[in-house]
Structures are given as structure tokens and as C-alpha cells.
């Protein structure tokens, strides 16, 4: 006899109404099940409907969103038809949730103690009702109890001797406080008694995420929905949070739905994975199986586009061409058909059902259903033939930069940083938030002045250039920004934006500029007709191409790229990285490539510099540094980088958790 699933989602449809009155079909016929204690990853790119699905489960769709079809059964009870009161009794008690951005998910004017108290208080009133519920559920009593570690002797989760059914009245504020301390202790906040009265802004990002986990677990839910819980965090912190989540849910027997765009996180944390695309489920199966033997072309394409730490320097990946489907349009066939290299005629006209291909794997792909074998493994990254770097163009020596804070505090962003860059070479700079890498980019691009040190361009000292010299320096050194939305003036057309440097540096006659703009747009893979439109009508990846076209306009020798792909989806990342490598080869550019993702940096760079606390802690050849790191911080960074390889198939890496702590 198989136990019925804890959560069963059948044919879930979610629609939004757009401001102009149209419909947006964000989630289309999504079905999956979750068993008690299971960890399920829901993976997909932005707009795939993964977060919307999670919010729909709890009846918390924002704005105009509504469930237009299907059912969500929790232990047999349909939550779609349940009333708001019933849903509130489910939230936190049966299904807990944590969200992406720990910086905004906590109320800035309430203390941490108040946060936990609010949650505990909300559950206190309903626990008897919920408890009665749970007692009546025979399945849990029989199937669950013997295996439920909560009742076992293992006291990794200290409980204050209270059963969930025990009455908790408003009187025992002190008891709730004690429980709050216990919860903070559980998630690894040091000195919980003292910190209970602190406000959110007094905690680091990682600590805030820990507090949010404590809040989500306060009601001892059966299911934890985690929506991109580590996306806003640095890799080393991400690693710790995933470890914490894993330990807590394992010891409490909580089932986890982990929503992420990061294949590495999937491989690291989940037994089963659900791949979503364009609001539909395209593939579903055990992580080890799906990640190594994908059935759906999208899964395969996504895996091929993910940058792996093991991929050596100077190789290139194939991105998935095109952009995700417009969810406002009705779907005739497979959502992925328009971007699929293996698409057949019927893929465009017939909706592929999600069918079981093996005992454990289901995929929604008509050709795949007829294929017995999984798709062939991705082509290994192809090595590029790139010319050897030429003469040194840019040198920085002993750069310092200090920001004066309010009051007496000041913050040293750059501390004695030195580097050099040759023509045709890519220098990767990797570091976590606050390491000073973005400041370095701005100092090198002369957007901010350095406090001390020297910057040499073609052997000339350009540290503090005069007005005319600054102009000539800028012509040689250009920059690509992280945020493709913020870095383009919304009031200008793309043509005006790209022509702006041409105008500033008086490149060519005014009447030749439109032709030059068209040429630049073609160079970055855009249609020259784009010149007449405003940035808002382009996707993130296309905007980043516009930014690159603008940077290339004055024909610079050095291009400084500050996190050029970190705001983009995985499949688009590969496109942009490929474009930058091609441009470097064709134009002989010297590139400074800044990122927090070591895998990307290794792949594009000749050499890598690792930054930490405003200093360069290690520098070396890209492959050399990744394979034989010397500095403990580099080792910690390498160990924390999640690789999209299932745990079983991964070579063991020595962890040095003491190197960095939250």
C-alpha cells in the first residue's frame, strides 16, 4: 500500500488581468505531488510560473491573480475552494513559507522578538483546532508517527516539552518569548536572548534569512515552501543556509518545496526536481536522473547553458536562443517549441501532456515520449581559439578608496589593490558583496576618483586626469553595467543611447552616426530597427546588448564589465558571455570581467583576481587558481559554489567552513 501524498496539485491554472484588461496565463495546467518529508525543487527561469505556483498553494496570489482551474489537495482537503479563514489556519501551521529577499521580508519597525511573537501568537489561537485536525488524520497517526523524528529520542530540535495540542493562552507571553529564544538558537543566531530586542537592520543578510526560517518553522509546518531562499545571498552564506535548511527539515521531517533558478542549488539540496517553463511543467523526476539524463529539450538546454565550475577557461557554452514565451498569448502547442532545436511540426500545434517515461520521470514532450532513451549528454564546452594576450594596456598600483560614512565611521572599499591588463586579455575579478569589486570597476572606469595609488593607461599616468585627458581616457576605457534596466536612460531611444558616446567623442560626422549605430547594434546581435524604440520594449538580455553596443561605440581598448550577467536568466547569461568573448576575439579588447559567480569568471577569464574585504587575496591563471587555490578564502568560495552535479556524482571537496561565517 502506498501512502497518499501529503500535497497533490492537479491541473492548476493561474491567471492575472493586465492593466490594459488582457489576461495573462501565468501557470498552465501544473500537476505534481509531494510526499511527507520529501524535498522537491521547482526550477525555472524568470516568468516560468514557479513563484506564482507557490503563492497559489497558499491562496496568496498578488493583485489581480486568481486560480482559474485545478485543485490543491493537502491531505485530501482542497485548498482552492477553502475559505480565507481555513487558509489562514493552514498558513504557517501546515504550510510555512520563506521568501527571496531577507532584506525586505522583515518589518523594519518591529524587533525580532515581536516578529516571532506575532507568529507564535497567530498559531496559539488555532493550535487546538489544528491539533484536532491532525488527530483526526489517521494517515499521519499510523504512517507518520513511527518515522516522525519529532517524537523520537533525537533532540536535535529542542522542544520545550509542549505538545502542539497543549493550550497556549495569551497569558504566557513569557512562554512565547522562551520559545522564540529557542527558535533563534535553533537557526544559529548567537546570544538569542539579547538579540530578541534588536531590529532587523542590525542583522546581516544571512542572519535575517535564518530569522525568517525560524519564523516559518515556528508553527512546525508539514511543508516548507522556500521561494529562492538564497538568491539574494553570497555563495558562502548560501551554502550555510542550505545546510541549515537541510538539517532542520531532516530532523523535523518537514517536506520542502525549494523554488530556485539555480541548478547548483537543486543538485545540492533536493531529491526530486520539477522543471517549469512558460507556466507549464516540462519535466519531473529524481534530481540525479533529471540532471544527468534529461528527457525534455528545455531541461537539456538549461543544463548545457549552466556554467560549471569544472569547465576550463577559454571554452564557450551554447545558450538557448530566443526569449521565453509571451504569457499573454494563448498557447497552441509546446511552450518551448519556438526555441527548441528538436521541435517538429506537431509541437507547435498540439499540447504535450505530462506523461511518465520511466517509473520516476515524467516529461511533457511529444517526441521524447516516443524516444526510449534520454537525450544525449550536452556537448562538452568547446575550447575557443583565442589569440594570446598582447602588450599591457592598463595597470593599477596600490589603489585605495575610502568612503566617509555618517559620523566618524568610514569604510575602506579598496585597500592597496594592484593589477594589470593586457590587450586581448580577460581579467576576471571575483568576490562577494562588499568585497570592493564594483568600486574597483568604477575607479578603473574613472567614474569615481581613487584616493591613492596610480592608474596607468598605455604607460601614461592617468590617475588624476585633467578635463581633456579624462575625455581621451574615457574614449579608451568603457564600461558595461550590472543592471540593464537602471543603466539605460528611459527617456531616450536606443539609437540616441548608443549615439551618445559617438556625439561626446565626436566620432564621425553627425550624418554618419545612424549608420554607425546600426552597425553597432548588428555587432551585438540586435536588429538595427531597434534604434527607434525605447529601452522599455526590450528584455533584460537585449538591454544588456544595448549597453554593450553603447560601450563599444567609441572603439575602446579596455572594456570593464561589472557583473554583466548576474541580473540575467541562465540561458541568456550564456548568450551574453558568448557575445563578450566573441567581441574580445574580433576587436582585440582587453576585458575586466567582474562577477560573484566563480564558474562564469573561470570560463571567460585568462587570469582571475579574488577580492575580499577590499583587497586582492589571490591572483593567478584561471584554471590554475580554480584547481589549486592557495588562499583559504578562495578555497571557501570554491567549496561554496553550487555545481549542477548531483551529490552522488560529485567528487568530494574539502570544506573549510571556518573561513567565512555569517
Amino acid at each position: 500500500m502506498t501512502t497518499p501524498p501529503l500535497l497533490e496539485v492537479q491541473g492548476l491554472d493561474v491567471e492575472f488581468t493586465t492593466p490594459d484588461g488582457g489576461g495573462l496565463h501565468a501557470v498552465r495546467d501544473v500537476s505534481f505531488t509531494l510526499r511527507r518529508g520529501e524535498t522537491l525543487a521547482v526550477v525555472g527561469e524568470s516568468g516560468s510560473g514557479k513563484s506564482t505556483t507557490a503563492l497559489a498553494l497558499l491562496g496568496m496570489l498578488p493583485g489581480t491573480g486568481r486560480i482559474s482551474g485545478g485543485s490543491v489537495r493537502l491531505d485530501g482537503e482542497d485548498l482552492v475552494t477553502a475559505g480565507e479563514d481555513r487558509l489562514r489556519a493552514v498558513r504557517g501551521v501546515r504550510i510555512g513559507m520563506i521568501f527571496q529577499d531577507p532584506m525586505t521580508a522583515l518589518n523594519p519597525v518591529l524587533t525580532i522578538g515581536r516578529h516571532l511573537d506575532e507568529v507564535l501568537r497567530a498559531h496559539a489561537g488555532r493550535d487546538r483546532a489544528a491539533g484536532r485536525d491532525k488527530a483526526s488524520r489517521g494517515d499521519k497517526a499510523t504512517a507518520g508517527d513511527s518515522a516522525d523524528p519529532r517524537t523520537g529520542g533525537d533532540s536535535a530540535v529542542p522542544r520545550s516539552g509542549r505538545d502542539k495540542t497543549a493550550p497556549r493562552t495569551g497569558r504566557d507571553r513569557a512562554a512565547r518569548r522562551a520559545r522564540a529564544v529557542e527558535l533563534l538558537h535553533l537557526v544559529g543566531i548567537p546570544e538569542p536572548e539579547r538579540r530578541l530586542d534588536d531590529h532587523p537592520h542590525q542583522f546581516s543578510g544571512g542572519q535575517r534569512q535564518r530569522i525568517l526560517i525560524a519564523m516559518a518553522l515556528a508553527g512546525e509546518p508539514d511543508i516548507l515552501l522556500a521561494d529562492e531562499p538564497t538568491t539574494a545571498l553570497d555563495a558562502t552564506v548560501q551554502d550555510q543556509i542550505l545546510t541549515l535548511l537541510g538539517e532542520l527539515t531532516r530532523t523535523t521531517g518537514t517536506a520542502v518545496v525549494l523554488i530556485t533558478h539555480n541548478m547548483g542549488v537543486v543538485a545540492r539540496a533536493c531529491e526530486r526536481v520539477l522543471v517549469m517553463y512558460g507556466g507549464t511543467v516540462v519535466e519531473d523526476g529524481p534530481t540525479a536522473e533529471v540532471l544527468t539524463r534529461p528527457r525534455h529539450p528545455y531541461t537539456a538546454g538549461l543544463l548545457a547553458a549552466v556554467l560549471r565550475l569544472s569547465a576550463p577557461s577559454g571554452t564557450r557554452l551554447v545558450g538557448i536562443p530566443g526569449t521565453p514565451p509571451d504569457l499573454r498569448l494563448p498557447l497552441a502547442g509546446c511552450a518551448f517549441a519556438a526555441r527548441c532545436a528538436l521541435a517538429e511540426d506537431r509541437c507547435h500545434t498540439a499540447l504535450p501532456p505530462l506523461v511518465a517515461l520511466t517509473d520516476t520521470v515524467r516529461a511533457a514532450c511529444l517526441p521524447a515520449a516516443e524516444r526510449a532513451e534520454p537525450l544525449p549528454p550536452p556537448v562538452p564546452p568547446t575550447p575557443l581559439d583565442r589569440p594570446a594576450p598582447g602588450a599591457v594596456v592598463l595597470t593599477a598600483e596600490g589603489i585605495r578608496k575610502t568612503y566617509k560614512g555618517r559620523g566618524r565611521r568610514s569604510f575602506t572599499a579598496l585597500d592597496d589593490v594592484s593589477l594589470s591588463l593586457a590587450a586581448g586579455e580577460t581579467l576576471g575579478i571575483v568576490g562577494e558583496s562588499g568585497s570592493g569589486k564594483s568600486t574597483l570597476a568604477r575607479v578603473l572606469a574613472h567614474a569615481h576618483p581613487a584616493d591613492a595609488g596610480r592608474i596607468l593607461l598605455d604607460g601614461r599616468d592617468v590617475t588624476r586626469p585633467g578635463r581633456a585627458e579624462l575625455h581621451s581616457v574615457r574614449r579608451r576605457v568603457q564600461m558595461v553595467f550590472q543592471d540593464p534596466y537602471a543603466s539605460l536612460n528611459p527617456r531616450m531611444t536606443v539609437g540616441e543611447i548608443v549615439a551618445e558616446p559617438l556625439r561626446a567623442f565626436r566620432v564621425g560626422a553627425p550624418e554618419e552616426r545612424p549608420a554607425r549605430v546600426a552597425e553597432l547594434l548588428r555587432l551585438v546581435g540586435l536588429d538595427p530597427a531597434a534604434a527607434d524604440r525605447h529601452p522599455r520594449s526590450f528584455s533584460g538580455g537585449q538591454r544588456q546588448r544595448i549597453g554593450i553596443a553603447r560601450a563599444l561605440a567609441p572603439e575602446p581598448a579596455v572594456l570593464i564589465c561589472d557583473e554583466p550577467v548576474s541580473a540575467l536568466d541562465v540561458s541568456v547569461q550564456a548568450q551574453i558571455v558568448g557575445l563578450l568573448t566573441d567581441l574580445q576575439r574580433d576587436l582585440g579588447l582587453a576585458l575586466v570581467f567582474i562577477a560573484h559567480d566563480l564558474a562564469v569568471v573561470r570560463q571567460v577569464s585568462h587570469r582571475i583576481a579574488v577580492m575580499h574585504g577590499g583587497r586582492i587575496v589571490e591572483t593567478g591563471g584561471a584554471d590554475e587558481l580554480c584547481e589549486r587555490p592557495r588562499d583559504p578564502y578562495t578555497r571557501a568560495l570554491l567549496a561554496a559554489a553550487p555545481d549542477p552535479v548531483p551529490v552522488a556524482a560529485r567528487p568530494s571537496v574539502a570544506r573549510t567552513p571556518e573561513a567565512v561565517s555569517v
Binding site: G322, H471, S487, M492, F505, L526, S537
Partner: protein, 285 residues
């Protein structure tokens, strides 16, 4: 090279300018219609009135519908329609000069503040000082020196609007100059002057447009209030506030005396507010 990434076709229709979209909403149209009617009445005053605004007839407090006096007459036997229409005209004349004057001066202050930190401090303190005299107290202070009249009214309105526009634009410039596209333009070699005029100002201008509509209602308010306080435009010249203020003692016996300016002022300020709201909603989207 990178052939796989052709740009996608844009979403078909070209979006309208947001201001036009805003004014095409029900709110925007109602607002514009109300304002339009009042402005038209003011412009055509000499044609529509039939009497001079200060001509006295023998009939005091004649009711509406009296032959030759469709809205009746006031306590001195002056035609109320003529006084209303010329009052509108006088009000429009004042606010059309005062608000733009205040707006321009405020913006100049803000631009000066953007030029240098010391100028910024001076400008900020100046604004603080003006704002320390709440609206009508400022009016009292100005008229204490200049005496009542049209010029003090204009001056008070303009003075009150200077810090409003100045702070708005100063904040806008500060916010925009912190945006990444400005850094991008600087790195792209664009000159400081062009960054200000082509990049920062167009993006900081939206709130100013809304504020002009709001400030026009404030101007109507200040004009009326000064008339009520007896420090406005000198009688017998009519303004909306002056006619209304004169009607106060006769509210019980001749409510029609107050009716014209009440309806007109309400229509004008409601129209302006609706327009401002419509613009604001569209801009915030």
C-alpha cells in the same frame, strides 16, 4: 557570430505619450473640461458680461432672473454676472503670472543648488526660512510692507511656490543623478551640462508638471484668502475671492450673491485637482 539572437518584434502599437494617456482618462477629461469652461468664461468676459464690473444700477441685491441681470445684483447694485466673469478674468490673470513665476524661480534655485554644495546649503536654508512662514502669515508679512493690491498677491503666491518647486526639483535631480544611467553617460564621455539637460532633467520633470496643476489650486486659494482678509486686490475691482467675501454679510437674505463665485471656484479647483490626479496616476505607473 551570435546570429541566433535577432531582436524580437516589438509589441505592436507604439505607446502614447503618458501625459496624453493621462488626460484621456475619465478623470483627466472631466478635469480639463471644468478648467476649460472656467478659462473660456474668463477670456470672453468682456463679450458675455453686458455690464461693466463696477457699473452700479439702482437695484441692490436684485434676485437672479431680473431682466438685464441674469444672476442678480450685489449690495451696491452691480451686475453679479459681470462681476463674476471679470472676477474669473482677474483671478486667471494673477495665477497665470504668479505660479509660473514661482515655478521658474524655484527651479532656478534648485539648479543653483545642484551646482555646488555650498549653494545647496544656502538654498536649503532659504527654503526653510520661507516655509517657516506658513502661507497666510507670509501674506500678512508681505502686505504689511507693500499694502494691499494685485502685486502683493502675485508676490505672495510666487514666494510660497518657490520652495515647493525648488525642493521637488532638487530631490528629483539628487535621485536621478544617483541612477546608474547617469554614471553610464559620464563614463560614455557625455559632458556635465548635457548630462543635466538631456539625462537628468527630462527624468526629473514629471512631478513638476503635476505640481503646476496643484499649485494653481493653491494660488486660487491664496487669492481668495487674501481678499477675505482685506489685503487682496483693492476694491472695487472684482476677483472671485472678493465677490465671495462681500457676499458674506448677506448670506441669510441673498444667498444667490455667493452662488456664482462658489460654483466657479469649486469647478476650477476641482478641475485642476482632477487633472493633477490623472497626471500623477499615469506618471507613477
Amino acid at each position: 557570430m551570435t546570429a541566433q539572437t535577432a531582436a524580437h518584434p516589438p509589441l505592436a502599437r507604439k505607446p502614447r505619450h503618458p501625459y496624453r494617456a493621462a488626460l484621456a482618462t475619465v478623470r483627466g477629461r472631466t478635469g480639463l473640461t471644468l478648467v476649460g469652461l472656467v478659462v473660456l468664461a474668463g477670456l470672453l468676459a468682456p463679450l458675455l458680461a453686458g455690464h461693466g464690473p463696477t457699473d452700479q444700477s439702482g437695484l441692490a441685491l436684485a434676485p437672479p432672473g431680473t431682466p438685464g441681470h441674469p444672476l442678480g445684483t450685489d449690495d451696491l447694485g452691480r451686475d453679479l454676472l459681470a462681476r463674476l466673469l471679470h472676477g474669473i478674468r482677474a483671478d486667471l490673470g494673477i495665477i497665470a503670472v504668479a505660479v509660473p513665476l514661482g515655478a521658474v524661480l524655484g527651479c532656478l534655485f534648485a539648479l543653483a543648488a545642484a551646482a555646488h554644495p555650498i549653494a545647496d546649503t544656502v538654498v536649503q536654508r532659504t527654503f526653510d526660512l520661507i516655509l517657516a512662514f506658513p502661507g497666510l502669515i507670509l501674506a500678512l508679512a508681505v502686505t504689511a510692507v507693500l499694502g494691499p493690491g494685485r502685486l502683493p498677491v502675485i508676490l505672495v503666491i510666487a514666494l510660497a511656490e518657490i520652495p515647493v518647486f525648488g525642493r521637488l526639483l532638487r530631490t528629483g535631480i539628487l535621485v536621478q543623478s544617483g541612477r546608474e544611467y547617469v554614471t553610464a553617460a559620464r563614463v560614455g564621455g557625455t559632458s556635465g551640462r548635457r548630462i543635466l539637460t538631456r539625462h537628468i532633467l527630462p527624468n526629473a520633470a514629471d512631478p513638476l508638471v503635476v505640481q503646476i496643476a496643484v499649485s494653481l489650486t493653491v494660488a486660487v486659494f491664496i487669492e481668495g484668502a487674501m481678499s477675505f482678509l482685506g489685503v487682496g486686490v483693492r476694491p472695487p475691482e472684482p476677483t472671485l475671492g472678493a465677490v465671495l467675501s462681500q457676499s458674506m454679510p448677506y448670506l441669510a437674505q441673498a444667498p444667490h450673491f455667493a452662488a456664482g463665485p462658489l460654483v466657479t471656484v469649486t469647478a476650477l479647483v476641482l478641475g485642476l485637482s482632477l487633472t493633477a490626479e490623472a497626471l500623477n496616476r499615469e506618471i507613477r505607473r
